[in-house]
């Protein structure tokens, strides 16, 4: 019998994928340069082979994890026999080597889909070649710097299991995958942008071809950030969702520049301006994903979420430098073609709003980047240790966020080229009135904090803006056609997916902002000492600790306390905050228990040990108003993005075909 080791199979898969990808990158480039269709096709088909080869490696890793094959180093270091199956599955990306493997695998998957679905244009061969170049880097890291498939001569009988914080919550199955889908999605427009520069076609073609990829990447990144917030909320035990931790910061930096990008490409589509700027933005976005990975994976910055320190840091730094230098050089070489010969009719116009929001998002990204690396820079320069924490990021970013939300209300109402002063004044009057009413209600309810009150006002401002947008689109049509408002609305939402979807995304952003106002501005955080059986008051609740418990399930030991929760003498629920311990790992994880309601969450976590010989327990109680709306708003943003991407309806399709054909000729 021939017993094929999973480790060797995996290594072989990675090596094959790497070899093929090197071939595809070179063949694609030569094929594109010589306009050799056979080489181009060969590179394209190789993309599928690369994906299949790496899929073999991923399947081998999954099999090794599920069958507890501790001869594979990664499994030996990060898995454990007693873990439940879902934990073994997510262990694939719970540590550094595995997560780079996942990233590389998703990249090969995207490249394969791209190779099959992209229409044949001059850009395609170069874009495929560039995707493969990026892929060669990731596969190289997997093969040489962080190989998870190393075969151990003396396999242990059992492993330590995944990081306790990670296996403590099922969100771990979702959040990292979304993150990598986002990062990888934003690689596609980067590859096409570079292809556009190489082929001297820096028009709108590259962004038109990648519009769906860009939005997909952005949507996944948005969902990833929000789901990461929810994971923090559930797992870290202090009832917060965002702490301006370095890992959080490096995830939001590419999101900020990508958000600027998806807005400013529209200016180029409509007005043929900002060619160079859009190219720089996508270069910046892609580079920031690499820089971020370097910062958090190399150990130069410590973070509460840094689960995979390892040897890959310098490689990511080197690749970041190469990508930045190469793409900037390319932009410089093509400067004559990308230089704008722009004309602007008026600053108060749709394009003007897009320009403004570009500056705001870039300023935000810069502030976050600076705050994140400032301690690093100071320590390198002077040796002094400094801290830049949440209060800094709040103070610097909040004014910018307020401006973003103000512009978000105005921008969509402005027509391209030039706004009619009278219409604009009327719209602004309505919006100001709504903002005043909203802020007035907030003040009447006793809100006195500055930013929360402004945000409530801006929510009113934006809601009025949505109403005006919809009314402007629907009422005249209903009047002309004589159909009901509802049916015109349905037709509008169906036929204008892009516009309507963007409104949904903006609405989601408003809802997220309101959730943040409540949860950050008005949370109540208290530590309580509960004697068993004796009620303790907390924010209108009565909490009664009933008894301690201990449970063992799936290789996890939970010790906690049942706490009955009463409102007005009526029991509403029982919460069970606990401390989880996984296997032999000495790191106990305090795990909160949450009562979710639309108005506010009641969040209890243990603040002391549970011991059988005391007659009390110390808990941390958090009341977090509106926090659920952050997750709901995040889902709405993701759904809105998906809606803009959903296939165009049958009625609109014929028009679209002819129009895009006309666009391609132009």
């Amino acid at each position: 019998m021939f017993d094929l080791s999973l480790g060797i199979l995996g290594s072989a898969g990675v090596a094959l994928a790497l070899t093929l990808s090197v071939y595809a990158a070179i063949a694609g480039a030569i094929g594109a340069h010589r306009r050799d269709a056979r080489l181009q096709t060969s590179a394209r088909l190789t993309s599928i082979a690369v994906f299949l080869a790496l899929t073999t490696a991923v399947v081998a890793m999954m099999a090794a994890l599920l069958t507890d094959d501790f001869s594979v180093k990664y499994v030996a270091e990060h898995s454990r026999i007693a873990s439940p199956t879902w934990v073994k599955v997510v262990t694939l990306w719970a540590a550094l080597e595995g997560s780079v493997l996942l990233w590389a695998w998703l990249l090969t998957g995207y490249t394969a889909v791209l190779a099959v679905t992209t229409p044949n244009t001059v850009l395609r061969p170069w874009a495929i070649s560039i995707m493969h170049t990026v892929q060669v880097f990731f596969l190289g890291v997997v093969a040489f710097a962080a190989n998870p498939f190393i075969v151990l001569a003396n396999p242990p009988l059992d492993g330590p299991g995944a990081n306790p914080l990670l296996q403590n919550h099922w969100m771990m199955a979702v959040h990292p995958v979304l993150m990598y889908l986002g990062f990888v999605g934003l690689t596609v427009p980067f590859a096409f942008a570079m292809a556009a520069l190489i082929t001297r076609r820096p028009g709108t073609e590259w962004m038109r071809l990648t519009r769906r990829w860009t939005l997909t990447g952005w949507g996944f990144l948005t969902a990833a950030i929000v789901s990461g917030g929810w994971w923090s909320y559930e797992v870290l035990g202090w009832g917060g969702f965002w702490a301006w931790d370095p890992v959080e910061n490096v995830s939001i930096m590419p999101w900020l520049t990508a958000t600027a990008f998806i807005h400013s490409v529209q200016v180029q589509e409509r007005r043929r301006m900002l060619k160079a700027w859009n190219l720089l933005l996508i270069v910046l976005t892609f580079s920031l994903t690499l820089l971020g990975t370097f910062l958090i994976r190399s150990g130069v910055i410590s973070s509460v979420h840094a689960f995979g320190d390892g040897p890959v840091g310098p490689y990511f730094l080197a690749f970041f430098v190469i990508v930045a230098l190469a793409s900037l050089t390319l932009v410089a070489l093509r400067w004559d073609q990308v230089r704008d010969r722009s004309e602007l009719d008026a600053a108060v116009s749709r394009e003007g709003a897009f320009l403004g929001v570009n500056v705001l998002f870039l300023a935000l990204a810069f502030a976050v980047l600076l705050g994140t690396i400032f301690p690093l820079l100071v320590e390198a320069a002077t040796g002094a240790r400094v801290t830049v924490g949440a209060p800094f990021f709040d103070q610097v970013s909040l004014p910018l966020w307020m401006l973003v939300f103000a512009l978000m209300g105005v921008g969509p109402l402005l027509p391209w080229r030039r706004a009619e002063t009278q219409t604009l004044k009327r719209n602004l009057a309505w919006m100001l009135a709504a903002a005043g009413v909203a802020a007035g209600i907030a003040l009447a309810l006793g809100m006195r904090k500055v930013y929360p009150t402004i945000t409530i006002g801006l929510a009113g401002w934006n809601l009025a803006s949505f109403a005006l947008l919809l009314a402007g689109a629907i009422v005249p049509r209903a009047r002309i056609t004589g159909r009901s408002l509802a049916s015109v609305f349905r037709a509008y939402a169906f036929e204008h997916k892009r516009r309507f979807g963007s409104m949904v995304v903006h609405l989601g952003a408003v809802i997220v902002a309101l959730g943040i106002v409540g949860a950050s501005g008005y949370r109540v955080d208290q530590q309580l000492r509960l004697e068993y059986g004796a009620p303790a008051a907390f924010q209108g609740y009565e909490l009664v600790a009933i008894e301690p418990f201990a449970v063992r399930e799936g290789g996890r030991v939970s010790v906690g306390v049942y706490i009955d929760v009463f409102v007005d003498g009526r029991q509403v629920t029982t919460l069970s905050p606990r401390i989880n311990t996984f296997g032999d790992q000495q790191q106990p994880v305090p795990t909160a228990s949450v009562r979710y309601t639309p108005g506010h969450d009641l969040y209890l976590s243990l603040a002391g040990s549970v011991s059988p010989d005391t007659d009390f327990v110390v808990i941390r109680a958090v009341q977090s108003p509106l926090v659920t709306w952050i997750w709901i708003g995040g889902v709405i943003m993701a759904l809105g993005t998906a809606y803009t991407l959903s296939p165009v309806g049958a009625r609109a399709r014929s028009t679209v075909r002819s129009d895009s054909a006309a666009g391609a000729e132009a």
């Binding site: 002094a384 309580l528 129009d659």
Partner: protein, 178 residues
């Protein structure tokens, strides 16, 4: 209602072991006696860095030192100290490093000034560009008569098409003047 974990098995000896493990994370014995902490404690604790943690505040962390610091804050509050005094107390012992909000002086000033400066540079550059682009837009472009004739001919042809919508490069239709 109370037994919400269906697979919960009560394991006598396990309780002792597990609690011993949990006790490893137990803080200062003092905490066990005191327990209750005021909400103001966390507001102040959120402005201090937990000295032994990786990028967590004293308010967030469940580490022993963070719990002790929260108790110190509680005691100082009970002793009548203000927020500023308590922050100064920790700053004296640990240095500026303990404050999550970098003080606005010395080297720290850079981190405060640079984002504002960058935003201002951005606004100024944008302002200059907008003026330049507007000037470019205001300058009439000399048109070739032959081109003009072609455009006129093309426009006459398009008049036969429905004119209430126009389409951009993406095939998305926009209402005119919406």
């Amino acid at each position: 209602m109370r037994r919400r974990v269906p697979s919960a098995r009560r394991l006598g000896p396990l309780v002792i072991v597990a609690m011993a493990i949990a006790a490893l994370s137990a803080p200062h014995a003092m905490l066990a006696q005191e327990g209750a902490l005021d909400r103001r404690v966390f507001e102040i604790a959120n402005e201090l860095r937990c000295p032994t943690c990786v990028s967590e505040s004293v308010g967030q962390s469940s580490s022993p030192i963070a719990r002790e610091m929260r108790i110190i804050i509680q005691e100082q509050l009970e002793g009548g100290a203000t927020r500023t005094e308590i922050l100064a107390f920790f700053q004296e012992r640990y240095g500026d490093w303990i404050l999550l909000e970098p003080p606005k002086r010395g080297l720290h000033l850079l981190v405060w000034v640079l984002p504002v400066a960058a935003a201002m540079v951005g606004v100024v550059v944008l302002g200059v560009l907008v003026r330049r682009w507007q000037a470019a837009g205001a300058t009439p472009v000399a048109a070739d008569p032959a081109d003009l004739a072609r455009v006129r001919a093309a426009l006459e042809r398009t008049d036969e098409r429905p004119s209430h919508v126009d389409a951009d490069a993406f095939g998305e239709r926009h209402e005119r003047g919406a």
